[in-house]
């Protein structure tokens, strides 16, 4: 990291610290009733208490589990379906209108359908999360596969590569920047939908914890849950960035 980057990084921490200070100030001055707004000190205490004495660990694990399984299912299905659609012009022409109808559909509208079909179960949550998270991945994969340099397909033909080899050695790596960008977007969608499903179906997780804390007016616990969700989103996004940098090292060379 060079000097300028370091300065920027420090500045961004300073901004975050001043937001927390502002929050503490508002809480101390009781501009908002302490029943609804705990200060960072109380939220932090609730967080520590939740982990040491309460069941925050298991709630966190529950949310991570929903998110991960849903996201992985969405990734596998999204890449597979996207590859099939993206590698054929005919498929793109025929399937694109249906996709355009399904894609903007709010996933929340799917939830009642999923509950009616699957009940208030883990399977329902998995279905809803995967359904919501599949779109960015599938659309990015379709785009990535459609944008493969035609010259490379000619190279593959002149090498008489098998269809499978063309997919794994040419199309997938070529589409990988798009696919990874789609997976990153889906990560956020998966987290949001995990929380929504936990709230609606009462499944074990941070969403449920947040809901119960709010109903019991335990605002510090509520904030502890929200902070933990924020951290989860941040950490998974950073992990995704690291994975992207590693997998797309060849792109860094290109710039």
């Amino acid at each position: 990291m060079n000097r300028t980057a370091l300065v920027w990084r420090l500045a961004s921490f300073a901004v975050a610290a001043s937001f927390i200070a502002l929050w503490q100030l508002i809480a101390n001055l009781k501009l908002v009733s302490p029943v609804f707004l705990p200060g960072p000190d109380r939220a932090w205490a609730a967080l520590v208490r939740g982990f040491s004495a309460g069941d925050l660990w298991s709630k966190l694990a529950g949310t991570l589990e929903h998110m991960t399984y849903g996201w992985l299912a969405a990734s596998i299905a999204g890449i597979a379906i996207g590859a099939i659609i993206g590698s054929s012009r005919t498929m793109r022409t025929y399937v694109a209108p249906s996709l355009e109808f399904l894609r903007p559909l709010p996933v929340s509208a799917i939830i009642p359908v999923a509950i009616a079909m699957l009940g208030l179960t883990q399977a329902m949550a998995l279905f809803v999360i995967a359904f919501g998270a599949i779109w960015p991945i599938m659309l990015a994969t379709i785009h990535g596969f459609a944008a493969v340099e035609p010259r490379l397909y000619e190279v593959a033909r002149s090498l008489q590569m098998s269809r499978l080899a063309v997919i794994f050695k040419i199309a997938l790596p070529s589409a990988s920047p798009d696919i990874l960008a789609g997976m990153r977007l889906s990560l956020t969608v998966a987290l949001i939908l995990s929380v929504v499903c936990e709230i609606l179906a009462g499944l074990d997780g941070l969403g449920h914890w947040v809901l119960l804390s709010a109903r019991a007016f335990r605002s510090a616990d509520l904030f502890a849950g929200v902070i933990l969700l924020g951290v989860t989103g941040y950490v998974t996004s950073v992990a995704m960035s690291l994975a992207e940098n590693r997998l797309l090292a060849w792109q860094a060379a290109q710039r």
Binding site: R151, E154, V155, S158, Q160, A165, K169, W250, Q254
Partner: protein, 267 residues
């Protein structure tokens, strides 16, 4: 030198062609690109194709590669009709930047051809190193194409084509995008690589000097639709030399003849 003898025999016309165009016509999108093209390329021959832009030189090469199928007529390879591209026919594309895999290193790009040929992974590294050395890229195995100059990328593409162990090498204006010095160096390297491997070459270029310098025979195409307009055997001694060959009276005579031909087609 066996290949020299073979080359002489090829030019004198005693053996069957490796690639044969027989009354080939190609219509693309309602437009006749190539009309009634008849052409035989003998094993070990170095054939250059020149012509004004849009005369169908590249199209002819793609027909020879099996990337296009003729609308009528036949393209034969070793007496068999070409139905699809084959591994023993390698193509060097002009746009090396698009023909290389940007996510694979130099070694990885060469490896692609070896993998396609079914070489066991244990044998690949030694062969890759050998091929990279052959094209003058030793020590660049770990570099990505984007970290290499244009000339180096084109060398890399040639290395990948050599990894196919081709009987025929098709080259589509391979040095068109390179500067003059790099171009001359690569011309000589291609000549010595071809002499060593005995491969047949069809070389498309818009550079008339390059065509005469490299070829055993130069064919000039007429445009709209593409057909043969001139055919010149090049009786210049080999190995060729950038200075003395280009000053040879025969070189100058051929050059004049080709220039007049191209000038006439452009009017």
């Amino acid at each position: 030198m066996a290949s020299a003898a073979k080359r002489l025999e090829a030019v004198s016309g005693t053996i069957a062609p490796q690639i044969a165009f027989d009354g080939v016509t190609l219509v693309l999108g309602g437009k006749t690109i190539i009309e009634n093209l008849g052409l035989g390329v003998r094993p070990g021959e170095f054939l250059c194709i020149v012509g004004a832009s849009g005369c169908g030189k590249t199209t002819a090469l793609r027909l020879a590669a099996g990337l296009y199928q003729p609308t009528s007529g036949r393209v034969n390879f070793d007496g068999q009709p070409m139905r699809e591209p084959r591994r023993e026919i390698a193509i060097v594309f002009q746009d090396y930047g698009k023909a290389l895999l940007p996510w694979r290193t130099a070694a990885g790009n060469v490896s692609l051809a070896l993998e396609a040929g079914g070489m066991p992974s244990a044998e690949r590294p030694a062969r890759i190193e050998e091929l990279l050395r052959t094209v003058g890229l030793p020590g660049h195995a770990g570099k990505y194409p984007s970290e290499m100059s244009g000339g180096m990328q084109q060398r890399l593409q040639i290395a990948r084509c050599l990894a196919q162990e081709p009987k025929t090498l098709l080259m589509d204006e391979p040095f068109g995008a390179l500067d003059a010095m790099t171009r001359q160096g690569l011309q000589d390297e291609v000549l010595s690589l071809v002499a060593a491997s005995g491969a047949t070459v069809i070389f498309v270029t818009h550079d008339l000097d390059e065509a005469i310098y490299l070829g055993d025979r130069v064919i000039g195409l007429l445009p709209h639709p593409g057909r043969i307009g001139i055919e010149l055997p090049v009786n210049l001694p080999r190995p060729r030399d950038q200075l003395s060959t280009r000053e040879h009276p025969e070189f100058l005579r051929l050059r004049r003849q080709l220039f007049d031909f191209i000038k006439a087609t452009e009017q």
